[in-house]
C-alpha cells in the first residue's frame, strides 16, 4: 500500500489550534512537552537520590506533597501524544525505522548532533519556562508576552545558527 501524503499544512494548523482550544476549554491549560520530561527527571532523581532531591531547591518544589511527580497532567498528555502519533503514522503507513539526515553526513553524526540538540533544548526549556509547545505555541494563543519572546528567540536563533550546521541538513 502506498504511503499517504502529509496533510495540507493550513488544515493541520487549524486542527492543531482546535486541539489547543479544547485543551483550554476542558482543563484551563494548554499543551506542552518539556514539563513531562521534567517530571520524569524529577521522579528519577527522587528514586535514585532522595536526599539530594529533598535538599535541592529545584527538585524539592516538584516532589514535596508525597505524590509521585509522574502523576501530572503533562505526563498523561505526552503519553497521549506518543499514542496519537503512532496511530496516525500507522494509519498513513508511515511507520518505519530510519535516521533522517543529509546524504552528506553519516547517521552516527546525526545522532550525536541530535543528543547535543536535545541537551540544549532540555536546559533551555527550563530557563524559558517551556518548550516550543508549552511556551511558544500555548503562550502565543493566550497572548502571553513570554510566549512571543520565547518564540522569537527560538526561531531567530535557529535561523541565525542554521548556516553553521547546514551540512547536517542540506
Amino acid at each position: 500500500m502506498k504511503v499517504k501524503k502529509y496533510m495540507n499544512p493550513y488544515l493541520a494548523g487549524v486542527l492543531l489550534g482546535l486541539v489547543l482550544l479544547m485543551s483550554f476549554f476542558f482543563t484551563g491549560r494548554g499543551l506542552g512537552a518539556s514539563g513531562a520530561v521534567k517530571s520524569v527527571v524529577v521522579a528519577s532523581v527522587d528514586t535514585i537520590a532522595p536526599k539530594h532531591a529533598e535538599s535541592s531547591e529545584y527538585y524539592s518544589k516538584y516532589s514535596e506533597e508525597g505524590e509521585s511527580p509522574l502523576k501530572s497532567w503533562l505526563v498523561f498528555q505526552v503519553i497521549g501524544v506518543m499514542v496519537g502519533g503512532f496511530l496516525s503514522g500507522a494509519m498513513s503507513r508511515r511507520l518505519t525505522w530510519k535516521v533522517e539526515h543529509s546524504p552528506k553526513i553519516t547517521s552516527q553524526r546525526r545522532l550525536i548532533f541530535a543528543a547535543i540538540g536535545g541537551l540544549l533544548f532540555g536546559f533551555g526549556s527550563q530557563l524559558g519556562r517551556g518548550c516550543t509547545s508549552g511556551a511558544a505555541l500555548t503562550g502565543m494563543a493566550v497572548l502571553s508576552l513570554s510566549g512571543f519572546v520565547t518564540m522569537m528567540a527560538i526561531f531567530g536563533t535557529a535561523f541565525a545558527f542554521a548556516y553553521f550546521v547546514r551540512k547536517n541538513w542540506i
Binding site: 494548523g13 483550554f24 484551563g28 499514542v83 547535543i116 540544549l120 526549556s125 508549552g134 505555541l137 535557529a158
Partner: protein, 107 residues
C-alpha cells in the same frame, strides 16, 4: 461555562484521562502535518520546507481567535486560563539556547 475542570463542571478525576485524549489529538495532528520528520522541521531554516511556520502559526492564531470568541460568547472564563508568567531575561536566554538546540538536534 468553561474551563470545565477548574470550575468542577467535570470532576477532577477526569483530568488525566482528558489529558491523554487531548495528547492523542495533538500527536496525531503533528504526525499528519509531517512534524515527525526532522529534515522537514529543519527545512524551514534553509527555506526548502515551510511546513513548520504554516502549521505553527495557523495553530496559534486559530486557538487565539477561538479563545477570544469563546470568551465573547461567555463559554470560557479567561481569568481561569493559565498564562505563562513573564521573566524576560530567562525567556530570551532559554529561547536562544533552545534555538541552537532546535537547529542542531532537528526537533
Amino acid at each position: 461555562m468553561g474551563p470545565l475542570i477548574p470550575q468542577e463542571i467535570i470532576s477532577e478525576g477526569w483530568n488525566f484521562f482528558i489529558a491523554f485524549v487531548i495528547g492523542i489529538g495533538f500527536g496525531a495532528v503533528l504526525e499528519q502535518a509531517g512534524f515527525t520528520s526532522s529534515r522537514k522541521l529543519a527545512g524551514v531554516f534553509y527555506g526548502y520546507d515551510t511546513v513548520v511556520l504554516k502549521v505553527f502559526f495557523t495553530g496559534a492564531i486559530t486557538a487565539m481567535l477561538g479563545l477570544l470568541y469563546f470568551s465573547l460568547f461567555g463559554w470560557i472564563d479567561l481569568n481561569l486560563i493559565y498564562v505563562n508568567p513573564m521573566f524576560i531575561g530567562s525567556a530570551i536566554v532559554g529561547g536562544i539556547i533552545m534555538g541552537v538546540g532546535f537547529i542542531v538536534g532537528g526537533f
